[in-house]
């Protein structure tokens, strides 16, 4: 069965819902929440339908600005489809987790949905102009979401820092993308932003040499790439729970995906040339992120840096340019997205009740919030890459890819990179276990028993969200076959463009 224009429908349901929400009277908070949730569930249902439908949705296209070759082209492939599904999941669970927002829920959900529209758009856009269009739509709501509903002490600083980092990255990428557009014209005589047509054009090597790093790094800033990563933990700490989930769960994938889609796939020669250098930066991400995470007492900082570390693995996987590495990167994007969403929702629930995220000030939470405790431990096991959990399924191929790259590219450095990055898992285990022990076990601090800070049970809505996220991770861990082959089809296409490297 096929639904015509299903991709556009998925993309624009959030936008329509967001604008419709703005038309509600501000005081009808309950109606606003339910409308938001309904729209989200419909959208998620469509995402699930598209994902499991054996027939891939048809490419949707029409000419937008024909005179300069801009078209509206939406399509999904094996790499983007899991991310579309992930966005749907994070969107719905984010709405559920935000049920308790009392300050202007109308604007909150509207901005979240405008953000979601941009994210869906980037994952589906097959036209460079369209991709930038959606990319920037996804960036600006973050500013308001963090600045208005964030953590009072840091929110304005963090929101501004995040926005400026992302916008400057995208502006530089835009300049390089325009250069690609004119290069493509020189090669083919046709003006087009259509990425499907740009694929496989042999851009001159000297052009790829300068354009690739600009495009790749411009987007990879959003993936938290070292040394442009530190907006990300700041942003996490300041953001409200649902926005943290979006930020780590989906937005950082946006950066990695766009870097892969525009950088590696359109400029393969540049990729081959630069990857040995980029792989080093990604290794710094993995190791340095993990070490910093270990030193942080603020739970959100810890998870923020762990995201930097895990996203480093994604970039590492991409940078190996091997089938295993790329597949692992694709799986890791999905697995990490769902995992951090779970983490941040747990932390948000604890913070809402305990009013602190400092690990030393917490304790014994498993007695007070057993559901949250179990979910956090589950996420922790994923994060550590325990076999049987999705983290293992995703990270193992990345290490294999790095190892293999040492053979295929005859570069022994990759061998060491594989070993060092695998050892970083030990550090991950250390900080996760430390957090689990001190937050969830031991004695409950006295002041959480009564008074203002008494720990109240979580809402049903929260439980549902946690179950959805945990179930997704569980399914990927025990039965990766519902995703891995799909990602491989996407990876095959990347490898074809790389010339079977």
């Amino acid at each position: 069965m096929q639904i015509p224009y299903v991709l556009s429908i998925i993309t624009f349901i959030p936008m329509v819902a967001g604008l419709a929400l703005l038309a509600f009277p501000a005081e009808k908070k309950e109606a606003i929440r339910w409308t938001a949730l309904t729209a989200g569930i419909i959208d998620l249902a469509l995402c699930i339908f598209v994902y499991f439908n054996p027939v891939r949705p048809a490419v949707e296209r029409f000419d937008w600005i024909p005179s300069i070759g801009v078209s509206y082209i939406m399509a999904v492939d094996g790499l983007s489809l899991p991310l579309v599904l992930l966005t749907g999941i994070v969107m719905v669970t984010g709405v559920m987790i935000s049920w308790g927002i009392e300050d202007r829920p109308r604007e909150f959900f509207a901005f979240i949905y405008i953000l979601a529209c941009g994210v869906f758009g980037v994952f589906m856009a097959q036209d460079l102009f369209l991709l930038f269009f959606f990319y920037e739509i996804a960036v600006f709501p973050m500013y308001l979401l963090i600045a208005i509903w964030g953590w009072k002490q840091r929110r304005e600083y963090a929101a501004m820092k995040l926005t400026l980092f992302l916008v400057i990255g995208s502006l530089f990428a835009l300049v390089a993308a325009l250069a690609m557009y004119f290069q493509a014209h020189t090669l083919t005589g046709v003006y087009t932003f259509d990425m499907l047509k740009m694929e496989g054009l042999a851009f001159p090597p000297e052009f790829q040499r300068w354009a690739f790093p600009v495009v790749f790094i411009g987007f990879a800033i959003l993936a938290g790439m070292f040394p442009f990563h530190n907006w990300s933990p700041d942003g996490h700490v300041a953001a409200p729970t649902a926005v943290s989930m979006f930020h780590a769960g989906v937005l950082m994938k946006l950066g990695a995906y766009a870097a892969l889609r525009v950088g590696v796939m359109l400029l393969p020669e540049g990729a081959k040339e630069w990857m040995p250098i980029l792989v080093f930066f990604s290794l710094v991400n993995v190791v340095y992120g993990a070490f910093v995470a270990m030193t942080r007492d603020d739970l959100k900082y810890m998870i923020g840096y762990s995201s930097v570390s895990h996203m480093g693995l994604v970039v590492l996987g991409i940078a190996t340019l091997t089938p295993q590495g790329l597949t692992g990167a694709g799986l890791q994007m999905f697995s990490h997205g769902a995992m951090t969403a779970l983490f941040f929702s747990c932390v948000g629930m604890i913070y809402d009740r305990a009013h602190t995220r400092q690990i030393p000030e917490l304790g014994g939470m498993i007695k007070k919030l057993p559901f949250v405790g179990i979910a956090f431990i589950f996420g922790g096991l994923v994060s550590m890459g325990m076999p049987g959990f999705s983290g293992f399924v995703a990270e193992f191929p990345i290490f294999m890819g790095a190892w293999q790259a040492s053979v295929t590219q005859q570069n022994p450095a990759y061998f060491w990179i594989a070993i060092i990055s695998a050892l970083a898992i030990v550090i991950t285990a250390a900080y996760i276990l430390r957090a689990v022990r001190r937050v969830f076990f031991g004695a409950v601090p006295e002041h959480f028993e009564h008074g203002d800070h008494v720990i109240t049970p979580i809402r049903t809505m929260d439980k549902v969200a946690i179950v959805i996220l945990a179930f997704t991770l569980f399914m990927l861990g025990v039965y990766p076959n519902w995703m891995a082959p799909l990602i491989q089809t996407g990876v095959d296409n990347v490898l074809r463009l790389l010339g079977g490297a």
Binding site: S67, R106, F132, E136, V139, Y143, A147, M160, I168
Partner: protein, 487 residues
Amino acid sequence: MTDFQTIDLLAILPEIALTALGVLVLVLDVTWRGKIRQQLGVVTAVGLFAIAALTAVFTYPAESQLLYGGMMRHDLLAFVMRLIFLVAAGFTALLSVDVDNLGRRGEYYAVLIAAVIGMNLMAASADLIMLYLALETTSISAYILAGFLFNEERSAEAGMKYFLFGAVTSTVMLFGFSLLFGFAGTTNLYQIGTTIQANSLAITVIAVLVLVGVGFKLAVFPFHFWSPDVYEGAPTPVTAFISTASKAAGFAVLLRVFLIAFDGTNLQSASNWLPLLTSIAVVTTSLGNLVALTQKNIKRLLAYSSIAHAGYALMAFTAIQSAPVQAEAVAAVVYYLVTYVLTNLTAFGVIILVAKNVGSDDVAAFAGLNKRSAGLSLAMLVAFLSLGGIPPLAGFVGKFFIFMALVKANLLWLAIVLAVNSLIALYYYLLVLNVVYNRPVAEGATEIQVSAPYRVALTALCVGVVVFGVIIAPFYDPITRIFDLVK
């Protein structure tokens, strides 16, 4: 002169209609008494929009031609620019109705209409004398408008300052015109273009002299000093008008004079003055944005931001130095002007309402606007994000076309200047939005009432900003032909 033909009438149809409208407003001013005077602005606005529609339908130039013995040119540039001026003035009139001491005075609207007539002729004139007369018509009207609230010190000062600056710069430009006539032996722009010699030092000097006058209209460095004070002091609707339509009119003159009289289509002659324009563009943009960072008054902030925006458009114009990019460069300038005019009018519309309610133009007056009027804060969001170049709003597309022209002309360094400047600008736009959404509402503040004319104007403007940001081709494609048709 040959027989009078239909085309002669069509070419000045908008101006004839505007004159009639001006007379109508003055008659109504004398006859209407009491509450109905509120409708003066609405009548003006409806008239202006009707004339815009009339212009769009009947005066589309099938072919470019010189009329009235070479005084005027009937072409696409004039056509598009006229529409911009008429629409901008229409919105300005709508946004004026509730302003104290301004909204109910017929002569205010009459002067506004006179300014539009001047601008229309600026865009169409093909002769130095005609051009100068049109410029002065516009300028003198604008001085009066800026100082219209003569009981208020700030407004009177703004009018005076504007006048002094304008008088000096226009004299310098007139001197340049006289030299141009001396060298070319003709006052017709098109004949000047073919007779003056490329590469001559004298032409460079004359170009600088003319640029003084044009630069004043555009408010670009180093002729920008008047604009923050005038913007701050003038009645806010007038500020909106000066910062949008008047600036666009300056660009209309810039395009025609520099492309035709100074032979900008010929790369060799263009190289006499292009480096100068490029440096002005870079300095203007960077200076405008950096100074805007420190502004506490929203009108001054927008003044500096509009200085920066003029710099962006000027950057796009400098891309004419690459022959295959010329049409795109001109199109980028015009598209940018359209998006900028719509966006800035939106922003000023909100400012008028907030200032009327709070009694202050400080950025702090916008604290908690979101809780006082969700609609106004949304309009503010649309305007400021569009200024910042965020899709799906017009500002993004405008900036995109500038980037495209610059990259195509291989001016990567200018593209990077533009990128960095966009970032700085986004910073202070976001700070304003932060105040709107995030600062606590002042004690005793009430919900802001938005009367019907304002609601209509702001809704239409916001829709316009989105339309020009999403439905791009029908507007962009025609204006890419401006360059070919202006020659």
